[in-house]
Symmetry: C2
């Protein structure tokens, strides 16, 4: 039996917002695993804002995806052939297999997926890199104390919603900034955020004043631009600003202006710190165990925005992410 | 005997670069000390970039100087009348007496000046708030380790030159950014900086690459704007950016763009922290003792840029500060 691999490869470095033509759809025979390798068939692909940054040339926290290379992506897959002693056919695994139907792996960076804890797509979001980013960014970098105010931007996204929920679990006032009434209602009514700011409904700073009357102790930023400035304008003394992403900037053709009011860091004796989740790899298990416990107890809810489709649809689904169309983790189910 | 007080009072809130007419020169009878007070005659006035920020309305780390109020300034003065049990006529004291010839004080915020350690103007600079700012900003906020690279902007200023010298004393590579060949030569040839970047001599980023080949572990910023961006572009993994001031921005009429490349904080897992020296008041003595020791041993040199004049000249001397005309601490000797 010859398996046909479906792949999405980078065709051109996008300028500004990517176009579907920046990727090529390719079919070719699936690879054969060698000794010590196994072959997986992808079931779910993770779609992440950070993907945009991986398309830019030059140094970042990971090397860029090269032209002609299979697009980088995390995914959940099933082992369909194995010449590896530790992986059996039928097992489900999570790894950076790329945007393709089949991939070979030697097990490096791969973790088994336990679907008795939660369904597979949850392992890409709340139990995956998104949830881990929320966990370490909030607790290790932000270091909130009970009673403090935590504000998170892109709060209806896969990282942001978990940040707010963990803040609530830790006894903080949780405030989310999101675009649109529906997302905001989800945050407050279903996830237990104390307040939400709808930046599409006008003056975000005025809304933030009302939502964070005691100012902001931890500002967890996924957005950058004016939202970051709004957060900086409302810092409490000794605040921690956690830089997790800057989705408003990823598609800019010129470097957008930085935060004009960064000197509030001085006025408020505050700290702005960037972090990269991969640095916490040796503590993933500890965090995932705690998150799984919160999921089981119902203290934390997970939501996935699952789009059914095939590999070739990857570009259009990714573009929907930049239009903010997802609530919760965006996943392409193959 | 009636003493005549000479005063400089704020006349108008400057827009952009201050004009001399933003202050009024006033003469009036000197005040009389009441019980528990003493009268001082000012001998030296401290001129500081932060003065510009005190002229703006609105909340900052100190309240603004009000229209009609005597301009705020630190100074060295001699006690000329005393009804205070702890202060005798003839003693020299350091305090925020304002831009005036005579002031009364109850001793709050006042420290005695020991001119056997160093001449009076040094107590406004290297042994005063400038040196303390350098000390705590570098050692407590920046936390450099021996062998690391410390880069400081406005390095020929009263804070910056001490930052670089303490970095050198602590076994770091000390790099200063300053304007002009003469200032840069002073840093390397007289103060022992390992390298200097002359931002007026063209491509500061290229010079910085050469001056900091192992990248920057601590960037101590007094300037903001493009200089801060140059520093952010060259951070080492885990770097600390210390925000001490933003002299390039104080006279801007619009908030200047923030650092466009602040996301390098994420890429390099770096931290940007603002601080205000007044928070360290209970540790001033400890720091001043250590700085005085370095002065005595010759490990640290102090330079003051002393302008002779009278109270009425305060505005023009302050403006020379914003033109970068001083090397070391700018002091008006009355």
């Amino acid at each position: 039996m010859t398996r046909v691999n479906h792949q999405v490869r980078l065709a051109a470095r996008p300028v500004g917002l990517p176009k579907e033509s920046d990727w090529d759809y390719v079919e070719e025979p699936a690879p054969e695993p060698e000794d010590g390798q196994f072959l997986v068939e992808l079931e779910y692909l993770s779609l992440d804002p950070a993907m945009r940054a991986w398309l830019n040339p030059g140094r970042s926290y990971v090397p860029p995806v090269e032209i002609g290379e299979v697009m980088r992506a995390g995914g959940i897959a099933r082992v369909v052939e194995s010449r590896h002693p530790d992986y059996a056919v039928g097992e489900r695994v999570n790894g950076a297999f790329g945007v393709q139907r089949y991939a070979v792996s030697d097990g490096g960076g791969v973790v088994r997926v336990d679907t008795s804890v939660a369904e597979a797509p949850v392992h890409l979001g709340t139990l995956g890199i998104s949830g881990l980013t929320a966990y370490f960014g909030l607790l290790d970098v932000g270091r909130p104390e009970p009673g403090q105010t935590v504000v998170v931007s892109a709060a209806a996204g896969s990282v942001g919603n978990v940040v707010g929920q963990i803040a609530r679990i830790k006894g903080c006032r949780a405030v989310g900034i999101a675009g649109g009434e529906e997302k905001c209602r989800w945050l407050t009514d279903e996830l237990g955020f104390d307040a939400a700011v709808d930046y599409k409904a006008g003056d975000a700073r005025a809304q933030l004043r009302e939502a964070a009357p005691d100012r902001i102790d931890v500002f967890f930023d996924n957005v950058g631009g004016e939202i970051l400035e709004a957060g900086l304008s409302r810092l409490a003394r000794g605040a921690r600003v956690v830089i997790s992403g800057a989705v408003s900037q990823y598609n800019a053709t010129e470097p957008p202006p930085g935060p004009r009011n960064y000197m509030n860091l001085l006025v408020m004796r505050a700290t702005m710190t960037g972090f990269v989740i991969f640095d916490y790899a040796d503590r993933y298990r500890e965090a995932a165990t705690e998150i799984a416990g919160w999921l089981r107890s119902g203290e934390l809810r997970s939501r996935e925005h699952v789009v059914q489709g095939d590999i070739a649809q990857f570009p259009e689904v990714l573009l929907s992410l930049f239009r903010g169309e997802n609530t919760g983790k965006l996943v392409l189910a193959l």
